[in-house]
Amino acid sequence: MSTFSLTTHFIRREIGNRYLGSFSGGLWALLQPLLQLAVYGFVWTYVFGMRVPGGPEAPGIVAFLAMGVWPWNAFAEAITRATTSIQDNSALIGKIALPRQILVFSSVASSFLLHGIGFCAIVIVLAISGTPIHWLGVPLALAAFAQLFVLALGFAFLFAAVQVFVRDLVQTLTQLMPLWMFAGPVLYPREFLPEQYRGWLDFNPFTFYPEFLRAQVLGYGNVSISAALISALLAFALFAVGYGVFRRLSAHFEDFL
């Protein structure tokens, strides 16, 4: 009970901290990906003259991009923010006895909470603007978000623990994040790659999520059962490894902060 109330406190504070002193408050969390979407949509449609392959059945470029941008933003932001969550709270860790996992967890949870809400909002907006939405797929899409949350937690625990010892990690990470995004089908469909390289995308643990969301919510493309199983297994395995490393190192954090 007390851990739960402590976690909700930290999540509230985490969200509050981001928008403390900004006029738009939490609204910014919803606006920022919308603007991002508008920019990508504009560049893709009018600059590159690109269309989503698949003929008249294919979804519009905006709907296609939305299914990639929101999960990626949640994932990338959760990981980069959580990586410094222990370091940023060093003042707290050296003075108050608290379960350190909470700090990482609330950092990841707040990112997913904000972008999860944003995702639901964009699906509704898309539906209103005439995009055919497969409503039965939406709960499955949210379940995929939950699985992505587990995967992000795994990375977050691992990186947050290592960051305490090796401070260069977060800099490296912010440089690598765009690369990671372009190494997955976030802003483009798999079909854009030359035939022989398409399989390589499967090595990216993030690849599953935009493809799954597009298949479930937009009915675009399909994802095999085995791919879903592998991604679930991978998410939980990474969580186990990340949490294990975190547990092993957490007793020594205060010596290195």
């Binding site: 109330s5 504070r13 010892f165 090796v166």
Partner: protein
Amino acid sequence: MSEVLVQARGLGKSYPQVFRPRDRLRALGRLLAGVRDVDAVAVLHDVDLDVCRGESLGLIGENGAGKSTLLKLLTGVLTPSAGSVRTHGRVGALLELGAGFHPDYSGRDNIAMSAALYGLSAAEMRERLADIIAFADIGRYVDEPVKHYSSGMVVRLGFAIVAALKPDLLITDEVLAVGDESFQKKCVRWMEQYLSDGGTLILVSHSMYHVQKLCRHACWLRQGGVAAYGDVFDVTQAYLAYHERKTAASSPQREQVASQGLEFHLVDLSLNELSQDTPVLVEHGGRLRVLVRAHSRDGRVPVIVFGIARADGTPVYGFSTEMDGVAPLADGPHDFVAEVEFPELSLLPGSYNVKAHPLDSEGVRLFDTIERPLTVRGQSREFGVVRLAHTWRTVAGAADPLKRAIGI
């Protein structure tokens, strides 16, 4: 034997030596591989500690002796490198100024956060919020960000939260010293009430007065180990005596006063044959002998003044050889001795200073001062400074069988 709230066995803490970024990487590798770090500096070693419910323990020691590290280990902020520590019940800790406060949030928000950190539910917190704000007594500042607070206000807020927590065990570091006089008194009063209600306290302080006032046991840490552990008076006296020896070389000696060539100066002042700058212990109602040795440059007989004041400076009683119509005894051509005895010391338990001064033969000019601290110990529920002789005249209420038996 009552319930043990804190139990530490062979407790030790060492910090890794990290100078270069490369060391951090190596430390990470070692920790992941489960290898103990060899080049670590021990700041605390082999501490055994048992604190039972209702006990009050004072932790004393020089700067860097490991007091704060020990407290952090007991509260679980630090993880021990060796040994184990177990605590039971709700622990309220006041370790550092504003620990756990976020500077950008208002006092009210920080109260909520701290309450959650201490494991209070939202409902419990709402119940106690008014009490906390009343105890902190910082007025409109409670709605302002903590970064605008003075350090005293931060301590007020921190203490108010801990007080509202009603912890089983209260652990507090030297933070109270930041509060102003009235708030310190409020805190000490609260702690005394807390202790008499059966609370348990671990206090770190450099004020032996506070330690002796609030604690029954004391633990003296020296260079990371326990130097002495036991009754508060024994341990604090040993600690003060240690400081005395340490600073003896640098402190001004009586000889320096002698070399100034004053007409009169004091050579020594002893309480119960003890001439020391650490408190002499006397039981309430016990015997106190004060002996002063004075030097007269011209061999004239000095007037000796004795005075007793409370530790805070309030004068209690003063008198001189001249008032009582006696003269100090000559002990050689230039030395004089005056000794006075209080057969049943009527001072109530507390800390006092005994002072002596030599005056010229006419009792006009005052030349020198020596002070000796005195601690009166005893069980007394009377108020004030001294016991005044008194007799009850209203016998109607005196249904005391003893008094009837002796025919009063």
